[in-house]
Symmetry: C2
DNA sequence: ATCAGCTAGGCAAACGTATGCCTGATTGGC
DNA sequence: GCCAATCAGGCATACGTTTGCCTAGCTGAT
């Protein structure tokens, strides 16, 4: 149905051999006369030639496809990462293949397989895994097979994959924001956890608990089941409010849940930060909108660095190093000195 | 460098011809004995065989790659669309290729070309174009070439591309939300515009102005330069506040700008909705957080339908139809009767 | 015994590109 | 005027699939 003009047609139109056409269109080092070069370029232009990246990949045994697996692209945490990936990828002539895996390991395995079928140059795992995930081993195996095939794998969180990790220390971030709350004079601090079972949830809770313990406030630390979304933060706070006394501060496992907590408090006419301080983790855009005190994680940089790593390491020779990017405390208006 | 076991190795390991191996692994209708079938499957399993989607695409002359061009994936407007696309794409075995084009036509042209090189099954244009864009013609030409090659192109906004459009009526949405404000008794309404030059900005402003005119309030309609982000809405409102009298209501071209307006007002101790009502357009997640009155656009559905269209129309025979999805008014707490 | 029809499997061409190797022509040095 | 070197270009193979066509054996009907 379509005049998918190929290199042979370009060559014929220019009156040269296919190899010659290929060489001028690729900027090969092989010498080509200016006249021939011009004829080929003109022919390609006239025919609207579009080189088949598929055929090219087949023979060169490498693509410029950058895979990235996120939990949910609608979640700003991941869309910022994806943006970091795509910025460096597309600048290097790569195209990014994105997949939502909904925090399901089986889908991750499936998508990893698809990206392998397409011979992606690399695959970035942006999402966290589960503690004691029964499918972790199967995932690790599929990752290993991909690596043996020359596919670079990078993880943005600590998980049981034998691959380089480019991440930020979420646990220390949680520790630091807790420490900040304590330094403001807060003693009783309630923590709204992330989704149950996730490593990311555990890290953040552990950071909170470690700081409370170090401050001698282990007794005053209270954890509530929650989640990473607005509704979870709101619901958890609605359970906190009717059981006085109110805590001095509420720390949520991430910003969106913190905003949920914030709204729940204000809807109950509890003054923030007058009566209760509220803080989150991540520094998403919404934190800025509502003036939420939080700790900024280098999400964009993590995505960008992961993509750069994949582009710069043509062979799968990189050892499984861990790169830790630093975070930064962002005090805003939802916290105050007690 | 890697044991990228190919079909020929699987065939050899199973002691059959390549064609036979191909047929059992593809579920071909060609008859194959159960014993042979089992041997091939076992061999493929043992060797960790991963079929090359590239080679397959080359001979079958079609890929399962779904292209989508967004302005900025961090913008929730686009991430919701992308999610709609990916949900139906991945369920159909496609993988979605995402590109950020930063509202730049030249980048759009470039990415369209890249997706063409990869022989994407289809490309979805999620972003709006510019009024009188000097590069529109060049973009249209590159789209035409792609279509001639059998690539399905779908646009999610009205723009000068000869392709099917699956969209929502932003102009009428703006009209309806304006009408709602008027029905609440507001007369003087200020409109914060979107980014200058964009068709999407013009549509929304036109809808606002049309409604004000129809209500005999043309004199009371005032437009301010703005943008689609928080900062633009905030800044525009900061210019409105010091010039009394305050308007009865502020309508922003989208939700994020509306939130910026909301915060600017509250920071100036102006009661919303007591003194001034505020409304937006899009119904992004943040609108729900802050209780913003807005109008819901079917972004997820637009993305999903576009992907479905591409998957269901194998040949490029679809005429350039326009599908209009309906929006819905979402009254919340930032508007009140005057 | 013959033959049509079916089953099971193999051969080989094609998809579109890159590239190692070869050839013929031209040049420069002596 | 001869040889080596360089320049310009072509031939052919390989990448990993799919699929049309062919063959060999077998079954059952005549």
């Amino acid at each position: 149905m379509a005049p998918v003009s190929s290199l042979v047609e370009v060559a014929r139109a220019a009156g040269v051999a296919v190899s010659t056409a290929s060489r001028v269109l690729n900027g090969s080092s092989h010498p080509i006369s200016a006249a021939t070069r011009a004829r080929v370029i003109a022919a390609a232009e006239r025919l609207g030639y579009s080189p088949s990246a598929l055929a090219r990949a087949l023979v060169s045994r490498s693509t410029r496809l950058m895979g990235v697996l996120v939990s949910d692209i609608v979640n700003p945490y991941f869309s910022v990462i994806a943006r970091g990936v795509d910025d460096v990828a597309s600048r290097a002539g790569y195209v990014t293949m994105l997949s939502n895996v909904d925090r399901r390991t089986d889908i991750e395995i499936n998508r990893m397989k698809t990206m392998r079928d397409y011979r992606a140059a690399g695959v970035i795992f942006a999402g966290s895994g589960y503690v004691d995930d029964p499918q972790a081993q199967e995932l690790a195996a599929s990752v290993r097979q991909a690596q043996e095939q020359g596919i670079q794998v990078v993880s943005l969180t600590m998980r049981d994959l034998d691959c380089p990790v480019i991440t930020s220390d979420a646990q220390t971030a949680a520790y630091d924001i807790t420490d900040h709350l304590i330094s403001l004079g807060h003693r009783r601090i309630d923590f709204i956890e992330g989704p149950p079972g996730m490593v990311a949830s555990k890290q953040r809770r552990d950071g909170f608990l470690a700081c409370m313990r170090d401050a001698g406030l282990a007794e005053a630390a209270q954890c509530h089941p929650g989640g990473f979304d607005y509704e979870a933060g709101h619901a958890a706070t609605m359970r906190i409010i009717p059981r006085p006394p109110l805590p001095d501060a509420i720390l949520a496992a991430n910003d969106e849940a913190a905003v949920g907590a914030l709204n729940a408090l204000r809807q109950a006419h509890i003054d923030v930060p007058g009566q209760v301080s509220v803080a989150g983790i991540d520094d998403l855009r919404v934190a800025q909108f509502v003036g939420l005190t939080t700790v900024s994680l280098p999400l964009y940089e993590m995505g960008a660095m992961a993509a750069r790593h994949i582009i710069d390491n043509p062979t799968g020779t990189g050892s499984a190093t861990t790169t830790m990017l630093s975070h930064r405390l962002i005090p805003r208006e939802t916290t105050a000195r007690r």
